[in-house]
Amino acid sequence: MNVLARRDPAVKLAVTLAISLVLLFVIDPVTPLLFLAVAIAAAVAGGARLSTIVRALVPLSVLGIGFVWSNAVFAATHEPPTWTIGPFHATEAGLRFGLAIALRGLAIGMLSLAFVWTTDPTDLVVSLIRHAHLPFRIGYPLLAGYRFLPFFADEYAQVRIARRVRGSVARGPFGRIREATGELVTLLSDATRRATRIAIAMDARAFAGARERTYWREAPLTLGDLVFVIVAIGFVAGLLAFSGAMGWLRLWDGHFSA
């Protein structure tokens, strides 16, 4: 296991959330770019392959381009337009702000993925229960639900096939809405039945009666976790200071205009 996978999941989650929160206040495009570079480095250190990273960046970038475009063209600025593309007028400030939002999204997205890729879901739930006061009566059903996710996609496909065979067809927008509702109701009743059964099976193993619950998986907080937090704080402070020194850094001042 690599250095990131060994870290306690609750600590890792807290660090990821904290960095994301800091990034929300950054409105220049360069600083998020620095954080994105760090996030990619973290993902690589966590064992992600470059091809996986690139594949994850594509949808995030498409979303980002949308942000750039809408901000460049529609942002409320008082500057004269810098470029004119057909009927659209873009301003430099709008473009910069759009880029900032897009890159911020990429950086937060990549950080979250680095977290997901290096975290075992069971470890995460156990660590959240033990270190973050997540009630175990919520944590374990979440884990049981997580097991179901792959089944849902499968079941949805089968429900659609089954309905098609019976002759259900969606004609027009209303037909489509009706069909979607029917599919959803069927899926939900399937899911409810499953959930009831699994709840019974959990209680048949004394889940409902559990008081002084113990844990098979250990979730120790180590010196390594402390070092990890310190290094993370150091990185964030260092990057912000560097960006500030270079004159790139701009923080949100509470106003919604570029």
């Binding site: 374990y140 884990l143 049981a144 019976r166 002759g167 048949a204 004394a206 409902a208």
Partner: protein, 553 residues
């Protein structure tokens, strides 16, 4: 007080939202160390009793405790705690997918131990012990989603054993598994039962592999009362008529023994083979039904299908012709491509390669019928075909009557029991009088009565000229019903012939199949005495005997 491990006294339990009690005035005793088989038709309250025994009712699942009491190991289950009761009785449920909670094997086994608050070193000890007694070795993959159904069910069993219950309830533990998975679980259970370390209560309908391990049989009736009880030989050999009336499954080997006029019940296929060697009239064989296939209704030529996102074909290179007035069975292990082939034949899935020619309309009945329900009432479901422009060829009300659903005509289809949903899905498929009827696992979860009724209907359909295709794991059904068997493995059709020819193959296991009990007994007898020729099932044995006198000793 006797030494009963569990005792119910006029126990009446009604589920929330139901009018009829699931259990009614039940008086029942389960002795310490006893291996008890619990039988009953669908809806007789078998699963409810299981949930009461381990305290889920009333401690975790709300139900109306209308009267009576239930004691387990001398304690009233209403005053004992759930944690105490789960250490008395562990319940293994039907579906491995809905009783596993965690993502990895050891976490799963530890889950119950964590709830009991055991220290970690004791958990470690118990995990090792539970894995050993269910044969989960170091080679078993760690992640549960990488396991087969049979192995998942063994993990579920291990996680109960780790809690060291004094008794185990097995509620249809093999119903969701293919024959190989079922055998895997039964072997694990048998290894436990033979040691007699704890009491066992088994609810099951594949009875033959269990006969050796059962001390007593208790049968619940339709009304949730105890209908009869006794040792297996008395119940299965001398009170078979009553069982028949109640509509519960019986061991095929006991039925074979009765056909042969034996008094004693064979405990397994080898004893049944002994019986055949003693009593089977030599030269008797089932009159070969001359099955003359009719016109071709559906033809598949070299079809393949790959689901989006998969890296291999679910079905590949499959060629098959279906005929009028023919019942074909598609058999094979889970994941062999049976359902995909069925959907291709029905024209529901488009082949990635090859082509399917259907000269007639095809109806498809899914394994989970509720997924295809489209109307708000049972009657609406029957008439749905008309709203899609198809011709209603048969009177829906007559069909509802025939399928025992007439009194439910105004009910919501989703509110029906599993057996009723199943029958509704077949009835609504027959309404257009399709030329081809494909059914996926039609007997899954059905009791004897429903299965027999379905078999009668399918035979009638065939005699009307319908092409019937069954997708099934149930080789006893194939033996009784099918004219033709198509066996698949890894997406390919590996065999296409009569059921008798399929059963004669030495490589059945390649298709994830195992001989059904009667055919197995004949095969074993035939191996020792070549004058006994193979017979596929009870129906064929009955026909063979019809013309011959039994050898009386």
């Amino acid at each position: 007080m006797t030494s009963a491990f569990a005792r119910a006294e006029s126990l009446t339990i009604r589920h929330v939202g139901r009018k009829r009690p699931a259990l009614r005035d039940l008086d029942f005793a389960w002795e310490e160390g006893e291996r008890l088989l619990l039988l009953g038709p669908s809806g007789a309250g078998k699963s409810t009793l299981a949930l009461c025994l381990d305290g889920v009712i009333p401690h975790a699942l709300d139900a109306h405790w209308e009267s009576g009491r239930l004691t387990v190991n001398g304690r009233d289950t209403r005053s004992a705690s759930l944690a105490e009761l789960t250490q008395e009785v562990g319940v293994l449920f039907q579906d491995p997918e809905t009783q596993l909670v965690m993502l990895e094997t050891d976490d799963e086994i530890a889950f119950g131990l964590e709830n009991l608050g055991l220290p970690r070193d004791e958990m470690a000890e118990r995990i090792v012990e539970a894995r050993a007694s269910t044969g989960l070795g170091p080679a078993t993959p760690r992640r549960l989603d990488a396991l087969s159904g049979g192995t998942k069910q063994r993990v579920a069993l291990a996680s109960l054993l780790a809690m060291r219950p004094r008794a185990l309830v097995l509620d249809e533990p093999t119903a969701n598994l293919d024959p190989i998975g079922a055998r895997e679980v039964i072997t694990a259970v048998a290894a436990l039962a033979i040691r007699r370390e704890r009491s066992f209560l088994v609810v099951e309908h594949r009875l033959d592999p269990l006969l050796r391990f059962i001390d007593r049989v208790a049968v619940l009736g339709d009304d949730g009362r105890l209908a009869l009880a006794g040792d297996p030989e008395t119940v299965f050999m001398r009170r078979a008529d009553e069982l028949d009336r109640l509509g519960v499954w019986q061991p095929e080997l006991a039925e074979l023994a009765r056909l042969l006029g034996a008094e004693e019940m064979p405990g397994d296929v080898d004893e049944a083979a002994d019986l055949l060697i003693d009593r089977w009239p030599r030269g008797a064989s089932a009159p070969r039904e001359a099955h003359v296939p009719g016109r071709i209704t559906v033809a598949a030529r070299g079809v393949a299908h790959r689901y989006r996102g998969d890296d291999r074909d679910a079905v590949t290179g499959a060629s098959l012709e279906l005929h009028e007035a023919e019942i074909s069975a598609i058999v094979g292990a889970n994941g062999a491509g049976k359902s995909t082939l069925g959907l291709l034949l029905a024209g529901v899935l488009r082949p990635s390669r090859g082509m399917v020619d259907a000269t007639a309309d095809v109806a498809y009945v899914f394994q989970y019928p509720e997924r295809g329900f489209l109307a708000a009432t049972v009657r609406g479901e029957m008439r749905y075909a008309a709203t899609t422009g198809r011709q209603i060829a048969r009177d829906p009300d007559v069909l509802l009557e025939r399928f025992g659903l007439a009194r439910l005509a105004e009910a919501n289809p989703h509110s029906l029991s599993h057996g009723e949903k199943r029958r509704l899905s077949v009835a609504s498929a027959l309404v257009t009088s399709p030329a081809v009827l494909i059914l996926d696992e039609p007997t899954f979860g059905q009791d004897l009565r429903n299965t027999r009724e379905l078999m009668t209907i399918l035979r009638e359909e065939r005699d009307r000229g319908t092409t019937v295709v069954l997708i099934t794991h149930d080789l006893s059904l194939v033996a009784e019903l099918a004219d033709r068997a198509v066996a698949m493995s890894e997406g390919r059709i590996g065999f296409d012939g009569t059921p008798a020819e399929l059963f004669a193959r030495a490589d059945l296991a390649r298709f994830g199949l195992a001989l059904p009990p009667v055919a197995d007994a004949f095969a074993r007898a035939g191996a020792r005495d070549s004058s006994i020729s193979p017979v596929t099932g009870l129906g064929a044995a009955r026909e063979a005997l019809a013309s011959r006198e039994l050898v009386r000793l």
